[in-house]
């Protein structure tokens, strides 16, 4: 553990426990819960419990590393037993000593309104609320950035009390952006975030990818781990829109008369090309890309993020 990531592994129980838990939580019933906070509590307490370590110091606190004593270190951190054996002073370091600063970047454009029975935007807000609740519960700092064609609202990452409430209030705003300007948003985040931390982008990522890669690289260079959580509706993948009609772009309002049955193949090929390009881009920049669809339970989606994150961290650790 390099001290910048999420807990490496679930603390209690195998990953399959979460899947079992999914069976008794109805996604539709969950999304019908009006309160984002309550929705997040259900997910955290019901699905994510035990999947990551708690923030408090205790018996289960895992030793991280030794470091040679230097002047100024607290003498209480000197490992006296090791000193007795080796006659050298070492101080012990624990990973809990580092507070995680997580910035949630939420797509607030109108394209997130798509989806049934619940929209992608609603799904993304649920994920954001769940993450915020879970992290703030561990005393981690959580911030929130809304963006559409650019950053529209910015909540710096904080761990103090009341942060969850501010985040939830901010999440309750409806999506109204007419375009998606993720690169500009990431540039703004890089410019304003001084602390190392993790940036989780919750967006459909269906817009043009021009300019995204430099911004990701900029964030990485600023010490931010970036996780792209791509949220898609199943209909966007299958292009199953029913009988013939007029497609109306939610952001630009552009209308296009198509027959979905005839245009499906071409659509899917172009969409897959876009997704492949996105994956390639993320791979080049070592950015975690997690793609979820709105028919998956938000807790399950978050579990995928955690697992993915753990794999990445494990690779990094092994490489180090």
């Amino acid at each position: 553990m390099d001290g910048r990531g999420l807990p490496k592994s679930p603390g209690v129980g195998p990953p399959g426990d979460g899947r079992r838990t999914v069976e008794w939580i109805d996604l539709a019933a969950l999304m019908r819960i009006e309160s984002l906070e309550l929705r997040a509590r259900v997910l955290v307490d019901g699905l994510l419990a035990g999947r990551h370590r708690g923030p408090r110091h205790g018996q289960s606190v895992e030793f991280s590393e030794y470091r040679a004593y230097a002047v100024g270190d607290d003498p209480r951190s000197i490992d006296w037993k090791l000193f007795a054996r080796t006659d050298r002073c070492y101080v012990r370091r624990f990973e809990q000593e580092i507070q995680l600063a997580c910035t949630l970047v939420l797509d607030n454009s109108r394209s997130m309104l798509f989806g049934a029975p619940h929209s992608k935007g609603e799904y993304a807000r649920t994920l954001a609320a769940t993450l915020a609740y879970s992290l703030l519960k561990q005393r981690d700092a959580v911030g929130l950035v809304h963006f559409a064609d650019g950053p529209t609202e910015f909540l710096p990452a904080q761990a103090r009390s009341g942060q969850l409430h501010r985040i939830l209030v901010s999440l309750s705003r409806a999506a109204e952006g007419r375009s998606t300007g993720l690169p500009a948003t990431l540039e703004a985040v890089a410019a304003t975030t001084r602390r190392r931390g993790i940036v989780i982008v919750l967006a459909d990522l269906l817009s043009e990818l021009d300019g995204l890669e430099p911004r990701l690289a900029q964030l990485q260079s600023c010490g931010q781990d970036v996780v792209l959580l791509q949220i898609l509706d199943p209909a966007e993948l299958s292009f199953d829109l029913g009988p013939q009609g007029i497609l109306e772009d939610l952001e630009s309002g552009r209308r296009l008369a198509v027959d979905p049955t005839t245009a499906r193949d071409r659509y899917q090929s172009r969409l897959n090309a876009h997704l492949a390009e996105l994956e390639t881009l993320c791979r080049r920049q070592s950015v975690d890309l997690v793609r979820v669809t709105t028919d998956v339970l938000p807790g399950e989606a978050l579990a995928r993020v955690l697992e993915r994150r753990q794999r990445v961290l494990a690779r990094r650790r092994s490489a180090a």
Partner: protein
């Protein structure tokens, strides 16, 4: 198939509505919001045609329902009798031509003749025509027999035109009801003795159809089914018509000042354009009209004004008659002068004598004389002198002498006109003095002496009416002495409370003022005391004895004995307040005045309407009196003389003042040398001045089967004839045959029923489709 209201067929276009809805129902493009349109390629939509009907039965049911409704409103009918109508034998056409006074208006008669020409042009040889004119009377001028007797249609038409040349409008009122009934009566009698082959009768009424026509007798009359009426209204472009009517005769006036004025009413038509008129007196009816200080009056359209016009001063040159002075009032300023003349006769004051014989005085309210004085008030034209029998006997000689001297002197005193008025009315040569000496009414309330009895018998012989009041049982002897019959048993009757008059013989002239049922209620007059007279049985009672009234217990109340000239009446009670409430009742004065007029041979009327049949008795002439003359010479308003037979009634042809001269022997003598027997005025009926068009509803409400008005078919709901005339040209309507056939067949009902059957089926079908999906 034909349609009565074919415009409703345009509603068949609504049947396309379900078809269009079915075709376009699926063509509405669905709008799909999408988030990744940029990955979608613009592929043209499928070109397959989606405008196709998916539910044929449902669409057909809806179209059928709408078509049925549209057809029902168009009111279809089948021309089932098309072939039979071509073989229709012909029509019976009855032309009723209005010759009333209102047709005197300018241009109307010419229009009427044109309408007759148009009607003649539509006739075929198999048709039958009859022509009658109507005003107050209906006269046939061409009968169906005369029409059928002529060989060819052209000859018949010429015959009609020749008859029309002799016709012209008259001056009397319009009795369209009588004309209709006469025409219908002729329809009931087929002209063909072998049975009429004519299928229907068409009456063509040609006239101005003004609002003042008489239609009363058409009530409750059922018209035959095969009779139709076509109206041909004639109208004048000039609508201002003011009329002049006499509101109250001067004889009605009670004061002397009022007698010097005449009350007239000037009415103006509702559609008049002028409201300024002038009234002026003509100097004499026979002389040319000379405006003498015309009086300007303003009568707005549709209103009337009543004016009190002072009579002109008596001019010696114009007073051609000694007893009655005619004057002519003329109205000017309107468009139609036919009703602008009013002839007024100023009748002189008449004197009557009433004798009273009783033991009470005039100042004694408990007696009968007291009320007698108050029952005959002086009026402007009538003065009644009430004398006792003794006073009359003492002054009879001097009165005779004065009367004779007055006759010879031809006094000009207007207040005391010559007493020869009544005498001269009786052209029988009766002794003038004896007639004058006889009283008109004698009331006997006390026993008579022999001399008094002789006097009354003499008066009775000259026509005096004697009323014997049964004050007590002695009245029976008086009645018997006057009638020279056996005394009737008379005794005091026993009255339980009061008795009432009942069983009055209203056919007798004594009860003439009470013939109208609204005045015939005598139940409020209580009789406290009366005498009971027992009449002999019918076998032994005199034939000229008549009971005019009875009490409610059956006892006779008023008995009349008719003598040769006069009559004796016995009232078995008195009007003394001790005996009855007669004198206190409002009927008392009319009753006594009716008794006063009993000896007059007919009430001498001086006012008649044009076209009215005038009996000679109404003029005061005795019709059946033996005379060596059988004709009466009358001077007409045109100052020419005609001789009318005395055996029939006289029909004055023109309005104006008529003067009855003497017997034909005086024709050779100058008129000024002999006084006229009577003078009377003939006026245009006032309803003829109501020249506004008649409301059609008043005819249709009476059931008149009007099918045509002028050239157009009668449209329902139109109020004025003229409105119909103006609208008929712009809105052609279906003919009468179509209406009749449609009414008989009523096919629209079946179409409505069919639509009502289709609609539930459609509803069920649609419900089923919705449920299926």
């Amino acid at each position: 198939m034909s349609f009565l209201t074919p415009l409703y067929l345009l509603a068949l276009g609504a049947a396309a509505l379900p078809v269009l809805l079915h075709l376009f129902r699926n063509t509405v493009r669905r709008r799909i919001p999408f988030s990744a349109v940029r990955f979608v390629e613009a592929v043209p939509s499928r070109t397959t045609r989606r405008m196709q009907v998916e539910h044929w039965p449902l669409m057909l049911l809806r179209v059928t329902a709408l078509c049925l409704l549209a057809l029902a409103f168009a009111r279809p009918w089948l021309r089932l009798e098309a072939t039979s109508e071509r073989e229709t034998p012909g029509r019976r056409v009855i032309v009723l031509l209005d010759t009333s006074a209102s047709m005197q208006r300018e241009g109307l008669w010419t229009q009427a003749l044109q309408h007759i020409d148009e009607a003649l042009a539509t006739l075929e040889s198999k048709d039958e025509l009859a022509l009658a004119t109507f005003d107050r009377r209906t006269q046939w001028h061409i009968t169906a027999q005369e029409w059928s007797a002529l060989p060819t249609l052209a000859a018949r038409v010429e015959f009609v035109r020749a008859r029309l040349k002799d016709l012209k409008p008259g001056w009397s009122s319009t009795h369209l009801d009588a004309a209709f009934l006469t025409a219908l009566e002729s329809c009931a009698k087929p002209s063909d003795p072998h049975g009429s082959t004519l299928c229907r009768t068409e009456m063509i009424v040609i006239g101005d159809l003004q609002a003042g026509m008489h239609l009363d007798t058409l009530k409750n009359h059922e018209w035959p089914r095969d009779v139709t009426v076509a109206l041909r209204a004639v109208s004048s472009p000039k609508t201002t018509n003011a009329s002049l009517q006499l509101v109250a005769d001067t004889s009605q006036a009670s004061s002397v000042s009022a007698a010097k004025k005449v009350r007239v009413k000037v009415s103006n038509s509702a559609d008049a354009a002028n409201s300024q008129f002038q009234l002026a007196w003509a100097v004499a009816p026979a002389s040319p009209y000379v405006p003498d200080a015309p009086i300007a009056i303003t009568v707005p359209a549709g209103q009337s004004r009543t004016l009190l016009i002072p009579l002109p001063d008596q001019d010696a040159a114009s007073s051609t008659a000694k007893n009655e002075t005619p004057k002519r009032l003329i109205l000017t300023g309107d468009d139609h002068p036919f009703d602008n003349t009013l002839d007024i006769l100023q009748r002189p004051k008449q004197r009557r004598t009433v004798l009273y014989h009783g033991d009470d005085r005039s100042a004694e309210p408990s007696g009968c004389r007291y009320f007698l004085d108050r029952a005959f008030p002086d009026t402007a034209t009538l003065e009644v002198r009430i004398l006792t029998l003794d006073e009359h006997s003492a002054g009879s000689r001097s009165t005779q002498g004065a009367a004779l001297s007055t006759l010879g002197a031809e006094s000009d005193d207007a207040r005391h006109p010559p007493i020869s008025d009544h005498a001269l009315r009786r052209a029988s040569g009766r002794a003038t003095q004896a007639r004058e000496a006889a009283p008109d009414l004698a009331i006997i309330a006390a026993p008579l002496t022999t001399s008094q009895l002789d006097t009354l018998r003499g008066a009775l012989a000259h026509g005096t009416t004697i009323l014997v009041l049964a004050k007590d049982a002695s009245a029976a002897e008086t009645f018997a002495a006057l009638t020279q019959t056996a005394p009737l048993p008379l005794e005091e009757a026993t009255v339980d409370g009061f008795a009432l008059l009942a069983d009055l013989d209203f056919t007798h002239p004594a009860w003439q003022p009470f013939r109208d049922p609204q005045y015939a209620d005598f139940s409020r007059i209580h009789i406290w005391k009366h005498r009971r007279v027992t009449l002999p049985d019918s076998a032994t009672s005199p034939a000229n004895l008549r009971i005019l009234a009875r009490y409610d217990n059956g006892d006779p109340a008023l008995i009349e004995h008719q003598s040769t000239k006069g009559r004796v009446l016995l009232l078995t009670t008195t009007w003394s307040p001790r005996d009855s409430q007669l004198a206190l009742a409002a009927k008392f004065a009319p009753f006594l005045n009716a008794l006063l007029e009993l000896n007059q041979i007919g009430a001498a009327r001086t006012e008649f309407e044009a076209g009215e049949a005038i009996a000679w008795s109404e003029l005061g002439l005795i019709p059946n009196e033996p005379s060596r003359v059988d004709r009466v010479v009358i001077e007409t308003p045109e100052t020419d003389r005609i001789a009318a037979p005395r055996s029939t009634d006289f029909f004055p042809p023109h309005p104006g003042v008529y003067t009855i001269l003497n017997v034909p022997t005086v024709i050779s003598t100058p008129a000024s040398e002999k006084p006229p027997l009577a003078t009377f005025a003939v006026r245009i009926p006032p309803e003829e001045s109501h020249t506004a068009p008649l409301a059609l509803e008043s005819l249709t409400a009476l059931g008149v089967p009007i099918t045509q008005v002028n050239d157009g078919v009668f449209p329902r709901g139109t109020s004025q004839l003229m409105a119909v005339k103006s609208e008929s040209s712009s809105h052609p309507t279906p003919d009468v045959t179509a209406i009749r056939h449609e009414h008989q067949q009523r096919g629209w009902r079946w179409l409505i029923v069919a639509a009502m059957l289709v609609l539930p089926v459609e509803t069920l079908w649609a419900t089923r489709l919705i449920r299926v999906g």
